[in-house]
Amino acid sequence: MSQTPERILVIAELQGGRLPPLTLELFTLGKRLADEGAGLLCACVAGYGLADGLEEIACYADEVYGLDHPLLAGFQVDLSGAATKALASSLSPGVILMGHTYDGLELAAQLSGAMGSDLVTDSVHVEQDPVTHRFLCTKEVYGGKAVAIFETETTPAVVTVRPKSHEPAKPRGSKGRVIPFDCVLDPSIARTESVGIMPEQTVDLDTAEVVVAGGRGASSQEAIDRLHDLVAAFGNHFMKAELGVSRPLVDAGLFPRSRQIGQTGERVAPQLYVAVAISGATQHVTGILGAGKIVAINRNKDAPIFDVADYGVVGPLEEVIPAIIGKLEETT
């Protein structure tokens, strides 16, 4: 290997001028890799009017590069990809780390294709083989039924990292250097155009102390009403209770995706998780493993959800939920 320290490049994000938790988690991973390999932790961020944000990022990285351009004010994958590739080509990092988000995955695939780089997505752990210097990325496969360690063979390797798989980094005592990078972009390379963003009511499952979630067996309007009632009843005992659902109810158009819990939805870690009429497919269970206690309510006593639950109630939700609500309302 060459004598120059290897660079670990983190693709940072700024949201309203602040670093989101996932970016701080990437810095934790990036710093460990840099420390272990005696390398340099570099960060780059794309946007427009970045000055203050770059100073903030300098609290976490040795080198900070701003891709500052009016065309990067919003995320468009061809433009962000071209700018990031230009920077990565000049830095020659060993690995490029980014969050496993919708935008992150698009950017990762773009970089992988454009640079001929191996890509491992949704990694929960990354290390560098001290002998071969290749990166080893651990990820769940088969919907969480198995765990694989992928070995990348290219330099750089591109890796997307699962949210909440690392602790957020703390600011360092000394700041890194903010290094100017001249970002030249041709607007005609953008192959897609955004014509509007349709917002929905924000659902914050992250901060809920209790999540009551309904599954395929709770798709009738009556059942959905009962789920709401149960959320309200738990809401009287906790700071915040929220309703979640498993994928079938989202695919049926009954709930927005932001309430979906599981592999292709959100991962939640409330104090108490109440799974109602959820059978317990691995793809769902992988999203609730961080829960403090898990209650399962299901009419099928053999449902796999009971295997991962701390408390179980066998019975139809139409009879079980009113009884739970009645008992919750009793003063102790």
Binding site: E153, P304, A323
Partner: protein
């Protein structure tokens, strides 16, 4: 209305709805071997196929289903023909076994170049086996066509595709000129069931096999999926305490009593 040519990329996976015990993890061969569960078309690819069939209903035209494998599970993949695909092309070659995502995308891209004239490529958002989610986007990148990810609805008009693309909250409307690629999410809807007549008609539809040499790909350029190890996930099971009681209502009440005793609430 101009008829459309839609290419849908499909692969087979062990039925992801199968119980965890049916997925045997073979650490030596670094493979997950299904035991007693059938292969199915990857459910996310079925969502893509459904989007394709809806577009064909509106615009006319044809759907070509593409699959890459070392040895094709043709019987499973032919389901595509019975729900609306017009042709199944099996990219089948021993050298296509266990390829990396990038190499699968390279094979698909070469085949799509050979097909030549098309309006839209549809893929699932990810496959339920390796859960990688990169092949579709890489195909778009390799073919240098617009690529839009996580579509929940797709429409085509006057040479432009309009996609409702998932965002973490809400969605974004994105347009691009065709030909374009869209990765489809489960929100797009489940694949319809085939009718008896469609199943009979499907037998007359062509299934074509293309080997590596048919698409002019140099097998020396293909890379295998590089897995250092494959193992079972850490145990997740907890000791479930079932609430007692002679009726569901009584069991529900006993749950609350127990949660109070354990100071959960």
């Amino acid at each position: 209305v101009k008829p459309l040519t839609v290419i849908v990329c499909i692969k087979d996976v062990p039925d992801p709805e199968g119980p965890a015990s049916a997925f045997e993890i073979h650490g030596d061969s670094k493979k997950v071997v299904p035991a007693g569960i059938p292969p199915v078309i990857n459910p996310f690819d079925e969502n893509a196929l459904e989007v394709g069939v809806r577009l064909k209903e509106l615009h006319g035209g044809k759907i070509i289903a593409l699959n890459v494998s070392g040895k094709a599970k043709a019987a499973v993949l032919k389901k595509a023909l019975s729900v609306g695909a017009d042709e199944l092309i099996l990219l089948e070659d021993q050298s296509f076994e266990d390829l990396s995502g990038r190499s699968v995308a390279a094979v698909l891209s070469r085949a799509i170049e050979k097909i030549g004239d098309y309006d839209l490529i549809l893929t699932g958002r990810q496959a339920a086996d390796w859960d990688s989610g990169q092949v579709g986007l890489l195909v778009g990148q390799m073919l240098q066509v617009p690529a839009i990810s996580l579509g929940r609805s797709v429409s085509v008009e006057n040479g432009k595709v309009t996609v409702e693309k998932l965002r973490p909250v809400g969605y974004e409307v994105v347009t691009a000129f065709t030909p374009a690629l869209v990765t489809v999410s489960s929100e797009a809807g489940e694949l319809r069931l085939p009718t008896i007549k469609a199943m009979q008609d499907a037998r007359k539809k062509p299934t074509t096999v293309w080997r590596a040499e048919d698409i002019g790909i140099d097998t020396a350029d293909l890379h295998k999926r590089n897995i250092r190890s494959l193992s079972s996930p850490p145990p997740r099971s907890r000791n479930c305490l079932f609430a007692g009681g002679s009726s569901p209502a009584e069991r529900g009440e006993n749950l609350v009593i127990r949660l109070r005793e354990d100071r959960i609430i």
